[in-house]
């Protein structure tokens, strides 16, 4: 019984993912007075998700990160004029030079996933800031988790 229910949930999740990648849901036409402009950086942040997160000292994409990148790939297919930069970042619990290389590896992992999902590699640049551009300013595990990321931005 439990297994069946689990299976049902899994199927739903897969369908949702498929519908995102293959037939992007048209962005609901927002009222002119509110909400980000479709196709803008704000749209990416609010309705797609501009960043993926990594485990400590890792650059492997996690399931939720892949789901975010699936949505980004679909969004980039829809907004074909948009080029993006993927910036890789690291938390403060590593040495500077290694973290620069680690951030680049994270940016590359996200870029490679987007390319595999059909985004032209010519539309994506990458950069690493190591630990020099943290988004969370604290010195605790919660902040560090937020700072182990790759952030996509419209260029």
């Amino acid at each position: 019984m439990n297994i069946k229910i689990l299976g049902a949930f899994a199927a739903v999740a897969l369908l949702a993912a498929c519908s995102n990648t293959e037939t992007p849901t048209p962005t609901p036409s927002a009222p002119v007075t509110a909400g980000p402009v479709p196709g803008s950086q704000e749209d990416l942040v609010a309705n797609v998700g501009d960043r993926v997160f990594y485990d400590f000292d890792k650059s492997a994409l996690k399931p939720d990160g892949k789901a975010t990148l699936d949505r980004q790939a679909a969004w980039l297919a829809k907004w074909a004029q948009n080029n993006v930069q993927v910036a890789g970042n690291a938390d403060e619990r590593g040495t500077e030079e290694y973290n620069l290389a680690l951030g680049q590896r994270r940016a590359n992992a996200a870029r490679d996933y987007l390319v595999a999902k059909g985004v032209s590699s010519g539309r994506i640049t990458t950069i690493s800031y190591g630990k020099d551009r943290p988004v969370a300013l604290g010195s605790n595990e919660q902040a560090w988790a937020q700072n182990r990321n790759a952030i996509t931005s419209v260029r």
Binding site: D57, Q85, E92, R93, G94, T95, E96, E97, Y98, L100, A101, L102, Q104, R105, N108, D112, I127, S128, Y129, G130, D132, R133, P134, V135, A136, L137, G138, S139, N140, A143
Partner: protein, 472 residues
């Protein structure tokens, strides 16, 4: 120079001509004279003579447990500016010797009979009475215009001998260099090893909120004086390192959002991208002969160690592990390279031959290891160890004899003084809240045995220190 690099020129602060860097050779060439000991001392100590009984001349190991008591009265001025210079020079010498931890300058309040007249034979009994084993005397004479003559003598109090006497003729504005040069002479004559006071430190000055941190290239004397900023903060600057002989720095710059290794000329303020690589280049260090830079270049899965010739020598890939290979550093004889790699699963230290062959892991302690830096003496590799806390330590080049010198929430990036006796690194204090308040980064120096840890004062937050060679 490319247009891209050319556009960035205006971002650099040109060194004001009044702060032009002057080589030691130019400073003292033909003007440093050896002063004979005053004639009345029979058998005045010759430079290489064995130390007399009760001599102030000892070695570094003894000085660590028993710092040499030294009296440094103000150099006697010929009046006016020369008086002030005499006091200032003595002050800088005193500060240098105190900070080394190997000398114990005696409080001038204890001096009997005030400053000794330079050139005169000191009244040794008066200096012996207050416990001085070494005595520094000297005088400053104005020679018209901006020229001054600085004379100094170093005395061994108990055997009653002159150890050194030297006079320097220079311009007043060079007074700090003269004080550092004299400090180095004192260090060398009393401890039998080269000093490190006539040196500079290049570092990264940090300011502003953590998420928009401004990081500027900066340089100062090793004692924190003469600080100046070399870039204006319009782009991130990271990891500067000195050329072994030229007034040149290799560093990493984010100019035009292209993080690459650049060369920065200290004399002109000009900077130039090193090579033309498709990916990020980082972690540069000069080879000991100064003819090339060893650095890392990122690729799809990590980074490789590259050797790049400075005179059109081309680039050569030394590692190709598919992992992150970074932070390479030559041994002082140029035959080996230490670096940092996660090829074994996490960051560890490796050593290989200069051609990339014979890679061997050397770190086997608890935790991850990073930033290997070879001592100029060749006998130690300093590193950062990463665990629950961060630590600065040293080990032999074969990985044996690991010693931790300092441990805290965060510290990183050791750099050796040119005599290999002192390490500088930086330490960060954690943010105490989620707005980043309380975060700071500061420079620290420590003796390689782990004693005499001291803050190095900088006008802003500071990181990424790199010690210069002794100035030429």
């Amino acid at each position: 120079m490319t247009n891209e690099a050319g556009e960035t020129m205006s971002n650099f602060i040109k060194p004001p001509s009044t702060q032009r860097l002057i080589g030691r050779r130019g400073l003292v060439a033909g003007t440093a004279g050896i002063l004979a000991a005053p004639a009345i001392i029979p058998g005045a100590a010759h430079a290489q003579a064995p130390a007399a009984p009760n001599s102030a001349v000892i070695d570094v190991n003894r000085a660590r447990t028993d710092p040499i008591p030294v009296a440094i009265p103000n150099l006697v001025g010929s009046g006016g500016d020369a008086d002030r210079l005499g006091r200032d020079i003595s002050g800088v010498i005193t500060n240098n010797l105190v900070r080394s931890g190997l000398f114990r300058p005696i409080d001038p309040a204890a001096f009997i009979g005030g400053a000794a007249n330079a050139g005169d034979v000191p009244n040794f009994q008066n200096w012996k009475a207050i416990g001085a084993q070494a005595l520094v005397t000297g005088k400053v004479e104005s020679q018209g215009g901006d020229k001054v003559r600085v004379e100094f003598r170093l005395w061994d109090v108990l055997p009653q001998q002159q150890i050194q006497g030297t006079a320097y003729t220079t311009t007043q504005s060079n007074w700090r260099r003269i004080a550092h040069i004299i400090s180095d002479v004192i260090y060398e004559r009393l401890l039998g090893e080269k000093g490190y006071f006539d040196t500079r430190v290049v570092y990264i000055a940090g300011s502003g909120p953590r998420d928009r941190r401004v990081k500027r290239l900066a340089i100062m004397d090793q004692d924190g004086e003469n600080n100046r900023f070399l870039t204006d903060g319009g782009f991130l600057a990271l990891t500067p390192r000195f050329h072994p002989t030229r007034d040149q720095i290799a560093f990493m710059s984010y100019v035009n959002d292209k993080p690459r290794v650049y060369l920065f000329d200290l004399g002109t303020g000009r900077q130039q991208m090193l090579g033309n690589f498709p990916g990020m280049t980082l972690s540069p260090r000069f080879s000991p002969d100064g003819n090339s830079v060893i650095m890392a270049q990122t690729n799809s899965g990590g980074s490789d160690i590259m050797l790049v010739g400075l005179n059109g020598g081309g680039a050569r890939r030394l590692t190709d592990s598919g992992a992150i290979d970074v932070s390479p550093c030559f041994s002082p004889d140029g035959t080996q390279i230490a670096f940092n790699s996660d090829r074994g699963g996490d960051q560890q230290l490796y050593v290989m031959n200069a051609d990339g062959s014979g890679v061997k892991r050397i770190s086997y302690g608890r935790g991850r290891y990073a930033t290997p830096v070879w001592s100029p003496r060749g006998d130690l590799i300093a590193f950062t160890r990463i665990g629950e806390t961060f630590a600065i330590g040293v080990m032999r080049p074969d990985g044996s004899g690991e010693r931790i010198l300092s441990e805290s929430f965060y510290c990183e990036g050791p750099t050796f003084a040119p005599n290999g006796r002192v390490i500088m690194f930086w330490r960060e204090t954690p943010a105490r809240d989620n707005r980043g308040n309380g975060f700071s980064a500061r420079l620290v120096s420590i003796d390689i045995t782990g004693f005499n840890e001291r803050a190095v004062s900088t006008p802003t937050d500071a990181s990424d220190p790199a010690w210069s060679p002794l100035l030429q």
